[in-house]
């Protein structure tokens, strides 16, 4: 084989490394007003950093150490906490298996297409999910015994083992990989509730924020899609019902709906069916979010060109199959950023349940500052940033993952 070397084009710009002093002169002190701005902002940034460091070394995190269990799980009975840990193990096992299933699906696709499969390295995973890892380590740093750390390590080990074992799953499960979260969720529920376990009335703390987020997204998303499709239905009844639903729920503040779910729903529903507060709030949040998701999906549906529908029709697809195989996939792909934005807002909105008295992370933080030993010491300045960190980490990872997904699916590339 002969190799041809292409000579560099004489006009190609050269990237010559510049010395720091030259760089500063070019970028920071090029003119007198630029220099002035540099100095002013330099002083401002420096004083903020100094203030932050002084604050960080001065804070007493005793309140967090004492109340960590309250923050994470509320008043979940201590003697039943093993169930939560078992639930964590089920979760990491499920995530491990599911991750492997996804990787294997991608691998199979790449092989049939005769393409190189670029497996992500462990380092990629760290880069993608570091805020969550950091948050776990941060949380563990407030624990008083070594047990939680050991259990966390065990959970991580189970996740890795599941990933490894996932290599041996039969192909028919890999093709139906949605089975894994389904079975996992069921197992999770039974581990927590089954045989004298803890019902969801006592699901509290950050745990309840997570549960409501995941359950809320899994329920509101399909419901939102159905509403968006209903809005375009050729049946007037379906269309008007969808529009009415969407417009009413979008015109009401979420808090009203939560209050309604908490205090009024019990009177509206006939008979003596008793729904727990948790369930009523979950329903309220799901109904509320589904209306917004419906509007997002509607935008996505409109973004699919008419020619796509015509092409589907011309090969004889029924209206439903045209929607299912052609319009919806493209619509959702175009809507990833907006959809994930909606999911992030759902995640943060779960803190609103504290208004109606569910002891979630935010409410737990507030309760802790009212305890006699911590009362009126301005400790909100400690616990609120602590709470914020949990929401930031989740939201940040979601938004980065959405951008990654967008890139991978080549949104905007036709």
């Amino acid at each position: 084989m002969t190799t041809t070397t292409i000579p560099p084009s004489p006009k190609a710009p050269l990237h010559r490394p510049v010395s720091p002093s030259v760089w500063m002169k070019q970028n920071l002190f090029s003119t007198w007003y630029n220099s002035l701005l540099t100095v002013i902002f330099g002083v401002l940034i420096a004083s903020v950093i100094v203030a932050l460091i002084r604050y960080l070394v001065s804070i007493d995190t005793e309140i967090i150490r004492v109340n960590l269990k309250l923050y994470m799980t509320g008043r979940f009975p201590a003697e039943q906490l093993w169930r939560l840990w078992a639930g964590v193990f089920v979760t990491t096992a499920g995530v491990g298996l599911f991750a492997r299933a996804i990787v294997r699906t991608a691998q199979m696709k790449a092989t049939t297409a005769g393409l190189e499969f670029d497996r992500s390295t462990p380092w990629d995973i760290v880069r993608r999910f570091w805020p969550i890892g950091a948050l776990v380590v941060f949380t563990l740093s407030f624990t008083q015994t070594i047990t939680p750390s050991l259990l966390t390590l065990a959970a991580a080990a189970i996740g890795l083992a599941a990933y490894w074992l996932g290599g041996g799953l039969p192909a028919w499960i890999i093709r139906r990989s949605w089975l894994i979260p389904l079975v996992g969720t069921t197992a999770f529920y039974f581990v927590l509730v089954g045989y004298g376990g803890v019902g969801w009335d006592l699901w509290q703390g950050f745990f309840v924020n997570i549960v409501i987020t995941i359950a809320g997204i899994s329920l509101a998303f399909p419901l939102g899609i159905m509403l968006a499709l209903g809005r375009r239905s050729s049946l007037p009844v379906v269309r008007y019902l969808s529009v009415t639903y969407i417009e009413i729920l979008r015109g009401v503040p979420m808090i009203t709906l939560l209050l309604f779910g908490a205090f009024a729903l019990g009177f509206v529903i006939p008979g003596d069916v008793q729904f727990s507060l948790f369930l009523r709030l979950l329903v309220a949040i799901t109904l509320f979010q589904s209306a917004y998701i419906a509007e997002v999906v509607r935008g996505g549906l409109q973004s699919v060109p008419r020619g796509q529908v015509e092409a589907g029709q011309s090969i004889g697809l029924s209206p439903w199959k045209t929607t299912r195989y052609i319009v919806l996939p493209q619509a959702l792909r175009n809507m990833i950023p907006a959809l994930v934005g909606q999911f992030i807002s759902l995640y943060k909105d779960t803190t609103l349940v504290f208004i109606v008295g569910l002891l979630d992370l935010l409410r737990a933080a507030q309760v802790s500052t009212a305890q006699p030993e911590f009362f009126a010491q301005g400790l909100e300045s400690v616990v609120l940033p602590f709470v914020a960190l949990y929401f930031w980490a989740g939201s940040y990872v979601m938004s980065r993952e959405s951008r990654r997904l967008e890139r991978k699916l080549g949104v905007g590339v036709r």
Binding site: E310, S318, L409, R414
Partner: protein, 259 residues
């Protein structure tokens, strides 16, 4: 008016004498605007009909009525013995027998080439996956791009995309193929590969209606040429008649402008 003469021609088919498509007194309105005026056409089995005419003359509207992408307002349309009605079952049956190739290809960008081709066979003809994929590879080989099967449409050239679109239609095993300016969105160097594919298809005995500005194709492949203007069929004839001794003033004017 001589249009009665042309009119008689439009329902006169060649080749086998069996009727495949029949349009009887078809009118189509967009609001107050009449896009099709009393269209009468009969296309025979294995016949290739090329439709030409100035922009806005109703060529697309006419062939889109045949597979019900547009709904005609008056008259009858019968495809392979099935008359189009408002019954969705009926419409789908006609669409199954009719393939369509669009100017803008309209491939499904989120599916690979092979999935574009197998979607119809699997979802409509209910072929098993394996069989559908074998069929798809066979058709992709026929249009000479089997090596692109696992790429996405966005990774192909315009000519390749249009050939995929042809394969996608053929996968439904249609009795009729409709082409709406299949080469108008292509760069000149890719037009030939698509026209060659279409010519092969015509030679294999497919019944075809082709809207095109490619007069070379019309001369060489068409059994009959229909000239439309202002929503009417103005003149119909064999390519020889058409390009050598057209009778209508509007036809002559149009041909003088494009040739």
């Amino acid at each position: 008016m001589t249009s009665t003469g042309a009119f008689a021609d439009a329902t006169q088919m060649g080749v086998t004498g069996e009727t495949m498509i029949e349009l009887i007194s078809v009118d189509k309105f967009f609001g107050d605007f009449q896009a099709l005026k009393d269209i009468n056409v009969r296309v025979g089995l294995q016949e290739v009909v090329v439709v030409i005419g100035p922009s806005g003359s109703g060529k697309s509207t006419m062939i889109r009525c045949i597979n019900r992408l547009e709904v005609h307002d008056r008259g009858r349309i019968i495809v392979n013995g099935i008359e189009l009605s408002h019954d969705i079952k009926n419409i789908q049956e006609v669409r199954r027998e009719t393939g369509m190739v669009f100017q803008q290809f309209n491939l499904f960008p989120h599916l690979t080439v092979i999935d574009n081709v197998t979607l119809g066979p699997r979802q409509v003809r209910k072929l098993p996956k394996k069989e559908a994929e074998e069929l798809a590879m066979e058709l992709l080989t026929k249009v000479q791009i089997p090596e692109q099967a696992y790429k996405y449409p966005g990774q192909l050239s315009g000519g390749q995309q249009q050939r995929v679109a042809i394969a996608r239609s053929l996968a439904m095993n249609p009795k009729v193929m409709l082409f709406d300016e299949p080469t108008s969105a292509l760069d000149p160097e890719m037009i030939k590969e698509v026209l060659d594919t279409m010519q092969e298809l015509a030679e294999s005995g497919m019944t075809m209606i082709v809207v095109t500005h490619e007069m070379g194709f019309a001369k060489e492949v068409a059994d009959r040429v229909i000239f439309m203007a202002d929503g009417e069929i103005v003149e119909v004839g064999t390519p020889e008649h058409f390009f050598e001794r057209p009778t209508e003033a509007r036809t002559k004017l149009f041909l003088s402008q494009i040739l």
